[in-house]
Amino acid sequence: MAGSGHAPLREDLEVLLTVRDLEVEFPVGKGAVVHAVSGISFDVAEGETLGIVGESGCGKSTVAKSIIRLNDIKGGTVDYQGNDLAQLEGEDLRSLRPDLQMIFQDPISSLNPRRKIRQVISEGLAVWGDEKGSWSQSRIEELMLSVGIDPKFGDRRPHQFSGGQCQRIGIARALALDPKVLICDEPVSALDVSVQAQVLNLLEDMKKRYGLTLLFISHDLSVVKNVSDRIIVMYLGKACEIGNANELYENPRHPYTRALLAAIPEPAPTVDVSEGDISGELPSPINPPVGCRFNTRCSHATDVCFTDEPEMQRVGDSDHYLACHHPVAVSINGQQAV
């Protein structure tokens, strides 16, 4: 599954963030490298929520962390309003940091256990000054209220809050800097089911209230669909399918997307997931398969899949892009059609 090529990049929209051919590698000793992300291209329009979905080891979190430069980038560009985030260093990079904020997976580990939550939330304002002092209490209280934490508990420390509350505090911290882009890396997967919806709704509310653009990473297909306008399905460091959230889930064309949808414990009756069988184990990202990276597990694979890497191509004229030599035919009313 390859997923090279720039077909999914759009020109007609207010694009805020464009990632081109992003490559990330991690050394694992003895000269070996993990090919975490191998040439992925996508863009995010202003006000849009882009979901990235895939199983562990597919590189979705690495993509997120590379965009905000928590990882080193080996190749490619990350264009944000005319700045290539992949090339920026030092003060140039730091000055753009407030625009791109992040919500982390583990709500408890993402808060410093020794600091009061008021300090945690105001850290961004303390770093950036914000007209010295004017931010002080009213802004922090407003933020706390907007994420649903009573400001009178500002002097408590993180361990006195539940996981869901800690995640709210993390959201308030990110919002304090008035970011344009909010990157959410598995923000609800550590939370209890009954609390997940609270946080997902809060993210939607905050997105509308503060005009945010969201990049939402999750392994949970239903959660990703709920929040996203557009979704990228990733496998072994590559993108296999990109498209409008509803369209992609209704007409999954890539065998891997189908396999993912078929594996949901409670498959949706409306989605055709036939031919979504998957077998075997995830290959090592140290020596990824040649050709299409999905070839070792795909029931459709032919010779070409073992030699040529498929390029991203548009499906029909909808917002749907696919990297597969043998896309699964769309079924319309139970009829197989190509």
């Binding site: 962390k65 905000i68 928590l70 730091r94 000055s95 940091r97 407030p98 791109l100 904020q101 992040m102 982390f104 997976q105 583990d106 408890i108 580990s109 993402s110 808060l111 410093n112 256990p113 020794r114 600091r115 850290e123 961004g124 770093v127 950036w128 209220l145 907007s146 994420v147 649903g148 934490i149 009573d150 508990f153 408590r156 420390r157 993180p158 361990h159 006195q160 809050f161 539940s162 996981g163 509350q165 800690c166 709210r168 993390g170 911290r173 990110a174 800097l177 609270q198 709704n201 809060l202 509310d205 509308k208 209230r209």
Partner: protein, 293 residues
């Protein structure tokens, strides 16, 4: 479908259960230990104003007598009051212990945190330094320095301080390595905090706790080490616990007047026990539970 502006955001209160569970206690043992250290420090600080007599006064009592009302810890071969000597000796021992560890904390802690935070080449250089320091026999280093330079309080303290750099530094490095991987440090980077701010605001408060516990333990080690140097007559040219113990180590003294050595040894033992115990409790007390359920 509710409108955003009207969306009812529920305001939550913290988890009271967790709140109460955190009210841990330091325990009575801790306060006894701290009490002992407090009494010791107060006694040592105000010794000149207290009726303990002159530690160097010869024939303060009959030589080589056991503990009595006049001489609480007895007298040594020269008839000096062992109690007065122990009190004045504590001044040197405690000051040496404190300065040595303070030096180790500042220098070792800084180096260790820098190594653990920046990693890579910086870490390699600093870690190599630590290894060198650790593999160099400490006693010989101390012998070299004290015999080459002088035997002032400052030299002895700093010598022991240099020896404390590597253990403290390695602990600081290890703790920093662990915490620097945590998401709260990544969050600080994302916010745009500079390295210095991340190290002082985010990492120092969490790294300081294991370091403080080690410091209390290390003070004990430094006091013992000073005693060792004194035993070899290479420590400060003044009374310290090591010097007093050295005075009482002759075969005849040990057989007939064991109190000369045993009394300061006992005080030293209690002090080090108190330091170790307090260090252990401090670590436990601040070991914040990070999982709320």
């Amino acid at each position: 479908m509710s409108d955003v502006e009207n969306a009812h955001v529920e305001i939550m209160t913290p988890d009271d259960m967790v709140d109460d569970a955190v009210k841990k206690r330091l325990g009575i043992g801790f306060w006894i230990a701290v009490g002992w250290l407090g009494v010791l420090v107060a006694t040592v600080a105000f010794a000149p104003f207290l009726p303990f007599g002159d530690p160097d006064k010869l024939a303060a009592g009959p030589p080589r007598t056991g503990p009595s009302l006049d001489n609480w810890f007895g007298t040594d071969a020269l008839g000096r009051d062992v109690f007065a000597r122990t009190v004045y000796g504590a001044r040197v021992s405690l000051v040496v212990g404190f300065i040595a560890i303070a030096f180790g904390m500042v220098v070792g802690g800084t180096l260790g945190m820098v190594a653990g935070y920046f990693r890579g080449r910086v870490d390699q250089v600093i870690s190599f330094m630590f290894f060198t320091l650790l593999s160099f026999p400490g006693l010989i280093l101390a012998l070299l320095i004290t015999s080459t330079f002088d035997r002032t309080l400052r030299t002895v303290s700093l010598t022991l301080g240099v020896l404390a750099v590597a253990p403290v530094g390695r602990l600081a490095r290890a703790a920093t390595l662990v915490f620097a991987e945590r998401e709260f440090v990544q969050a600080a980077r994302v916010i745009g905090a500079k390295h210095f701010r991340i190290m002082t605001r985010e990492l120092l408060p969490v790294v300081l706790i294991p370091m403080a516990a080690l410091a209390l333990l290390g003070m004990g080690v430094a006091i013992v080490a000073e005693g060792g140097l004194a035993f070899l007559q290479l420590s400060v040219e003044d009374i310290s616990w090591g010097v007093i113990i050295n005075d009482g180590r002759g075969i005849r003294d040990l057989q007939e007047n064991p109190h000369v050595a045993l009394m300061p040894i006992g005080v030293m033992f209690l002090t080090i026990l108190a330091l170790n115990f307090a260090g252990d409790r401090v670590r436990e007390y601040f070991d914040v539970r990070e999982t709320a359920f």
